[in-house]
Symmetry: C2
Subunit: 214 residues, 2 copies
């Protein structure tokens, strides 16, 4: 079965090549601006070939979406060794923001771009697996679970005033995502010219954590 294996490997490699080229282009020019033709040209294949490996442009989106969550997770696990849950949470916030700053286009793909997310509600009548394959969500759940668990620890060990994990997790995530997305969507320049002062974000994270602590 060596030949079939090699063919399979080659297919996988081309798939990765497409994904890599698409990711590079998306990051440079943004999701909407990149055409499927541009991706094909970048790797010297024809348009049709892309459609042999991905159902459509949204499909490429979701593949990169997953890859993005794996990248984010890689950043966030750096906080795991920190024993103190509040300090771990702070470091997770820093890593999260660092990720958003380092890969704004990837972040946009993961949390902001809504167009491809619409297929979820468009396919309401269709079979459940078509709506959104569960295996594509393990990377998401892993990162989110880490946040959830750390908030839980903060509460359990009595560092937080609130007792509701869901609410607190949601509030913290919203705050940090809000900062990231306002910056990425270019809404800060006019209102906070001092955002060039890199401490605005980290100062805000610190302040937020102070608020929650007992």
């Amino acid at each position: 079965m060596s030949i079939a294996d090699r063919r399979e490997k080659e297919k996988q490699e081309l798939r990765d090549k497409i994904l890599h080229a698409a990711g590079k282009l998306f990051r440079k020019e943004g999701y909407e601006k990149v055409s499927v033709r541009k991706i094909a040209n970048a790797i010297d294949y024809s348009v049709g070939t892309i459609y042999l490996y991905f159902k459509n442009k949204d499909d490429i989106f979701f593949a990169l979406h997953e890859e993005g969550f794996n990248m984010l997770y890689e950043k966030m696990i750096q906080a795991i060794p920190i024993a103190h849950p509040v300090e771990r949470l702070r470091e997770m916030g820093r890593q999260y923001m660092a990720f958003a700053y380092e890969f704004p286009e990837t972040y946009e793909l993961m949390f902001i771009q809504s167009a491809p997310m619409n297929i979820i509600e468009e396919r309401m009548g269709k079979p459940a697996e078509d709506v959104m394959p569960p295996e594509k969500w393990v990377a998401v759940m892993r990162s989110f679970g880490m946040l959830y668990q750390t908030v839980q620890e903060c509460i359990d060990q009595g560092y937080f005033k609130t007792g509701d994990v869901n609410l607190t997790t949601f509030a913290i995530w919203s705050s940090v995502h809000g900062m990231a997305s306002l910056r990425i969507c270019k809404r800060l320049e006019k209102l906070f010219p001092s955002h060039l002062n890199a401490t605005l974000i980290s100062d805000t994270i610190n302040m937020l954590l102070v608020q929650y602590q007992k």
Copy 2:
């Protein structure tokens, strides 16, 4: 000068008609999905006419952007009569979220859509007025100023633990915007199925305010 005046009025009316049709379509189908042709068809004019009233699609965007901020301001002034600054802030948060829920596409236009915002940095070399006419920002500054001032009052009257207005304003806005944008960008369904429970948002607002208070 009556004829010239009438002509001017008619021009203004058609401009408003285009804007109204575009806004309606954007709200129903989203900014990207709506073509300039669709807008033209909706009001029974030809494509070219649109370009006599707006430089391009982004220009329509910015006109609606301004309109959106006026709508938001109309919602937010309902909180003005409330004397207690913390309660006023809470009501402002509620109104802000109500606006985001009621006009998600408009909200997306105002705070999320980044494509048209790029022209700001694309026109870095050009004259300052071309970059972003200041009169288009009065509506923005008015709403933002109201938030800023209320936070200032909370601090002045000793209701808040923090003393930094900028940081606190930014943190509060980020939190609320984070909630709004996560919902609008369809990122909650999978992680917080209970978001159907309409209290998640208002509960979070309440919790947030408790954190900041002394």
